[in-house]
Amino acid sequence: MKKTLLSFVMIVLALLVLLPVLWTLSTSLKPLNEVNKFPPEWFSPSMSLNPYSDMFFYLPFSTYTLNSLIVASSSTILTLLFGSLAAFAFSRFTFVGKRTFLLVFLLSQMLPGASVIIPLFQLLQKVGLYDTYGGLILVHTAVLLPFVIWLLYGFFQTIPRDIEDAALIDGCSRMTALRKIILPLALPGIGATALFSFLGSWNEFFFALILTSSDSTRTIPVGIGLFVGEYLDVWNQMAAAAILFSIPPLILFTLTRKTFIKGLVAGAGK
């Protein structure tokens, strides 16, 4: 009896918490004349997927989606490449200044975007990377790297050194050991890190907003963020864009929930 009551409370709470998302979902399926209707209704017989195709037609969301995909996947590849080299150095070598370097990476995660944005803006303009994929990819990579290094460092630490030592005795070089032994064993961890990195870039708004200025480089969050308030009359298409944009994060999170939360709890407490 008590259990049923508590379960009921939990379900009601879930509905309350999901209210903004559910309302957006409902809006994204309605034709325009029913969006601007009073009293508001959750369901209507004329619901359809039309706003989802209209948004690609009326708003430049196909370009935004392409831009987001290019920027997020390039940043992911770069962070993984450079992040795993650095994490390998931290987990398998002892060297002067190791603690300092680790601390620098830990602290740079806390760096407020607002305190670097102006020089970055000036720098990118000077070298001709303002409002380009390249500029945004470089900045996203730099912003995501510290956390990626910390995550990978954690995963590399869990791989026993014995296997690697055996390979070294057999005449493997350090780099071959990284490529042939550590990377394959750390694959699940690397996968989770890749997803984190992708989402970090995919959802990033502040740098993407300020470092781009034309539709041909803007990412989806910038599109949504800028249009809110501008195109008030197409709430249904905006809602459709918001829902579509949220699907990759939701899927990726569901897939990696366990690994991600474990890493997070360990990382924040360390």
């Binding site: 409370v9 102006i118 470089l138 790297l145 809110v228 308030g229 929930r257």
Partner: protein, 289 residues
């Protein structure tokens, strides 16, 4: 050669850190002492005048107060909410825990821009569900512009921020709750301690480290938060919900006074560095959670 290997491995990552951390920070400091306008270009050293302009701007003080409320009150409420949800999930009702755990985490997973959009639409004056329901309850009229009213705008944005941050607190609290030794509860039960007593004498003390980590992290992150305010109100109406990160953009890219913007961002940096060291202190004292 062997000795150089770890450094060589670090070079690419360090280059990025220098490019996005060291160089901009130094350049920012230089900017803050110079007269840099986006229209007229740089015209040299001006000493502390940028800082004076920031301090003399009443908007700065208002934003500072807003940001502090937004960060401290918002984080505290999000922690209370997160703890409540964590306690509920920790009752171990069975399979429903996993499903609800996932659903409760959704606000944290979706992008801040989408969250801001969803709340803005929910609070819409004429067609939003919130006004419709409040009208039914007789609390407010349909047409109440929550985000357009200087008295309520900041509270609304904070509500959305709490909504987005509480799942992180929930996840961390849940991990903390699950690491409390069961024996402590069993012993207390034998001694006849009530549920409320057990909560205050066993649960809460055991969550002290998690709570302090969450509090510091939450304040740092919220202090830095640009997204929610920008998407929902852009700092308005009449700057009533202006916060410091949005103000940096306002000074630099709307008023085109990069010097003033830089001075403000140096101040934000100094404040957050202090908070970050506090965070390092908290986690090195707690060691494990």
């Amino acid at each position: 050669m062997k000795k150089a290997t770890p450094y060589l491995l670090l070079v690419p990552a360090l280059l990025f850190t220098v490019f996005v951390l060291a160089y901009p920070l130094v350049q920012n400091l230089i900017n803050s002492f110079s007269d840099v306008s986006m229209i007229t270009g740089s015209s040299g050293w001006t000493g502390l005048s940028n800082y004076r302009h920031v301090f003399e701007d009443t908007l700065f003080w208002r934003s500072f107060a807003n940001t502090s409320v937004y960060a401290v009150v918002g984080t505290a409420l999000a922690l209370v909410m997160g703890l409540g949800f964590a306690l509920l999930l920790n009752l171990k009702l069975g399979k429903i825990d996993t499903i609800m755990g996932c659903l409760y985490t959704v606000p944290w997973v979706i992008s801040p821009v989408v969250a801001g959009f969803a709340w803005k639409w929910l609070l819409n004056d004429n067609f939003g569900v919130v006004n419709y329901w409040l009208a039914h309850l007789g609390v407010a009229k349909v047409g109440t512009t929550w985000l357009g009213d200087p008295h309520t705008a900041l509270v609304c944005v904070m509500l959305a921020r709490i909504w987005q941050f509480y799942p992180f607190a929930m996840v961390m609290f849940l991990a903390g709750l699950q690491s409390i030794p069961q024996e402590e509860y069993e012993a207390a039960a034998v001694d006849g301690a009530t549920m409320i007593k057990r909560f205050f004498y066993i649960t809460l003390p055991n969550l002290k480290t998690v709570t302090s980590v969450l509090l510091v992290l939450g304040v740092i992150w919220s202090f830095n938060d640009f997204n929610m305010v920008f998407v929902m109100t852009r700092g308005g109406p009449m700057n009533s919900s202006m916060v410091l990160p949005v103000l940096v953009r306002e000074f630099s890219f709307v008023q085109f006074d990069l010097g003033k913007g830089s001075a403000l961002s140096v101040m934000i940096f100094a404040l957050l560095t202090t908070l970050s060291f506090l965070y390092l202190k908290v986690i090195s004292r707690g060691e494990s959670i």
